[in-house]
Amino acid sequence: MSAATARATNTDFVLAVEGLTVSFEGFKAVDDLSFYVDEKEIRVIIGPNGAGKTTVLDLICGRTKATEGSVKFRNKELTTLNEHEIVRAGVGRKFQTPSIYEDLTVFENLELCYPRGRNVFGALFFKRDQKVINKVRETAEMVNLLDQIEDSADLLSHGKKQWLEIGMLLIQDPALLMLDEPVAGMSVTERQQTAELLRRITADRSVIVIEHDMQFVAEIADHVTVMHQGKILAEGTAEKVKQDPKVIEVYLGH
C-alpha cells in the first residue's frame, strides 16, 4: 500500500482526492494528485492542454480506473465503485462535448435522468406520473428549454445541447457536479446565460469546473487549481494564481 492511500482518512470535505495516480503504458497522466473540495465550493481546474484535467474528472467519476490513490466522496471511497454507483452516490458529470441522447426528445432526455426506476424492472414498469412530469418541466424551465421540450434533442443548437446536458445532471440532484468546459463553443450571449445558469444551480452544491476562459473563471470560481503535467502547480483564488510566476510561465505566459 502506498503512502498516498495510507494518508486517506475521513474528512469533512465533500471530496477528498489523495495521492491519485494513473499511468498509461508508463506515462503518468495524473501523478500523485491531492486536493479537497468543500461543501458548496466552486472549484475551477485550469491548465494547459494535456495537463490531465479531464483525466482527473474521469478518475473521480469512475470512467478511468486509478493506478493508485484514493477518491473519497463524503468519506465514501469511489475508486472501487462503478460509474453508475458513483452517480447514485451523488456525483454528476458533464462531458466536454455535449453528450445527450439525440434519438430522444428533450423531455425524454430529462426523464431518463430522473433518479427513479434505475434498475431493469424499475425501468420496465416506470410510470410517468405527475411528479415526474412536474420535475422534468421544472428542470427544463431552469435550463431555458421549456419551449422545446417536445423537440427531438438532435435538433437543438450546440449551446442548447450543453444546457440540456446540464439539465440532465440537475434532475439527478447531485451533491457534487463536475463540468468539463461548459461554455466551450458558445456564443457570447449563450456564455452569459450559462454563467448565470451556473450561478443559480451551484447555490446548494459543490462544483468542479474545467475551463479555459479566464474571465469566466474569475466570474465563478471560489478556488482555482492549476494543473501541469499531471501535477498541481498552484492553488488558490483566481487572483492569486494569476499572479503566480510558475503559472504565468507554463500557462498564461504565452
Partner: protein, 308 residues
C-alpha cells in the same frame, strides 16, 4: 489420457504434434493476416474473407491447368506464377468491392458484416456456376510432394514446410509494409484520425481502397497456398471464417504481432489436444478457451493501452 503411451512415445508425440501444429499455425496465420489488416486496421468485418481465399485457390487451379496444357516443362514452377496471379485477382476484386460497397459503410461496422455476408453468397454461387459444384484438385508439383525424415516418428512434409515459408514471408512483408514504410504510416494515420489525415494531404479514399485490396490480396495468396494441402470447393470458404476471426480478435485487432502470437497459441493448443481427444473435442475446447479468455481480456492478447 497420457497413460496409454510410454515416455519416449510421449516425447515423439509432442514433437510430431508440435510440427503438425506449426503447419496449422502457418495456415491460421495466412488466413488471419489479410483479415487483421481489413478488420484490425479498417474495422471492416469482412465475412467474405473465406471467399477471397477460395478465389485465390481457383486461380491457382486455373494456372496449373494452363501450365499443364501449354507449358508442361515449366510445371514445377507454376505455383509461383499462380500465387502472384491469385494476389492480383483477389486484390482487384477487393478494390472493386471496396468501391461499390464497403466505402459507403465505414461508419456502420456491423452493417459491413451483413453486406459482406451477402457478398460471400454471391461469390459462392458464382464459383459454383463457373467451376461446378465438385471439389477441384490441384496437381502438386513433384518437388513439393514427399517429406523429410527427421526421426523415426517425425517427418516433415515438403508442402507443409512450403506453406510455412509462405506464411513467414507474407508476415514479414506485411510487417515491413505496415510498420516500416511511409505507405504503412499513412494507412495507420487514416485509421487513427481520418479527418486529420485528409487535412495533411493523404487521399483517404484511395488509402482505404488500397488497404482493403491488400487484405483481400493476402487472402488470395493464402487460398493459393492452401491448395497444396487441402481442397477447393465453392463453399469451402465458409469453413474458415470463424477460426479466422477468432485468431484476429484473440490476437488483439490492431496488432500484427498479436495475430502471430494468437495463431501460434491456438494452433499449438488445438494440435496437441487433437492427438489425445480427437478432432471434435479439441476444436470445442480450443474455441471455448479462446472465448473465455476473451471474456476476461476483451481487447485480446496484444494491445496498446490508451486513454479513452
Amino acid at each position: 489420457m497420457f497413460s496409454d503411451y510410454s515416455a519416449t512415445e510421449l516425447g515423439s508425440i509432442f514433437a510430431m504434434q508440435g510440427f503438425a501444429g506449426l503447419i496449422l499455425f502457418a495456415v491460421f496465420l495466412l488466413m488471419a493476416l489479410g483479415l487483421a489488416i481489413i478488420f484490425g486496421q479498417m474495422g471492416v468485418i469482412n465475412m467474405a474473407h473465406g471467399e477471397f481465399m477460395i478465389l485465390g485457390a481457383y486461380i491457382t487451379y486455373l494456372t496449373s491447368n494452363v501450365f499443364a496444357d501449354y507449358f508442361p516443362a515449366l510445371f514445377g514452377g507454376y505455383f509461383f506464377v499462380a500465387m502472384v496471379l491469385a494476389f492480383l485477382a483477389a486484390a482487384a476484386l477487393g478494390a472493386l468491392v471496396e468501391w461499390t460497397v464497403i466505402r459507403r459503410l465505414y461508419h456502420r461496422p456491423l452493417d459491413t458484416l451483413l453486406a459482406t455476408w451477402g457478398l460471400s453468397l454471391l461469390m459462392q454461387q458464382s464459383y459454383r456456376s463457373i467451376f461446378g459444384a465438385r471439389e477441384v484438385g490441384v496437381e502438386v508439383p513433384d518437388w513439393m510432394a514427399g517429406s523429410f525424415q527427421v526421426t523415426d516418428f517425425v517427418e516433415l512434409p515438403v508442402n507443409g514446410l512450403f506453406v510455412m515459408c509462405i506464411a513467414v514471408a507474407v508476415t514479414l512483408a506485411v510487417y515491413l509494409l505496415m510498420f516500416r514504410s511511409s505507405w504503412g504510416s499513412r494507412v495507420r494515420a487514416v485509421v487513427q484520425n481520418r479527418p486529420m489525415a485528409g487535412a495533411v494531404g493523404i487521399n483517404t479514399a484511395k488509402m482505404d481502397r488500397m488497404t482493403f485490396a491488400l487484405g483481400c490480396g493476402i487472402a488470395g495468396i493464402a487460398g493459393s497456398a492452401f491448395t497444396m494441402i487441402g481442397s477447393t470447393g465453392p463453399s469451402a470458404g465458409q469453413d474458415y471464417i470463424v477460426d479466422t476471426f477468432l485468431v484476429v480478435v484473440f490476437g488483439g485487432a490492431a496488432s500484427i504481432l498479436g495475430t502471430v502470437a494468437s495463431a501460434f497459441s491456438i494452433s499449438q493448443a488445438q494440435s496437441t489436444m487433437e492427438f489425445f481427444l480427437g478432432g471434435s473435442m479439441a476444436k470445442v475446447l480450443t474455441l471455448l478457451t479462446v472465448v473465455i479468455i476473451l471474456m476476461f481480456r476483451p481487447q485480446g492478447l496484444f494491445t496498446l493501452k490508451v486513454r479513452k
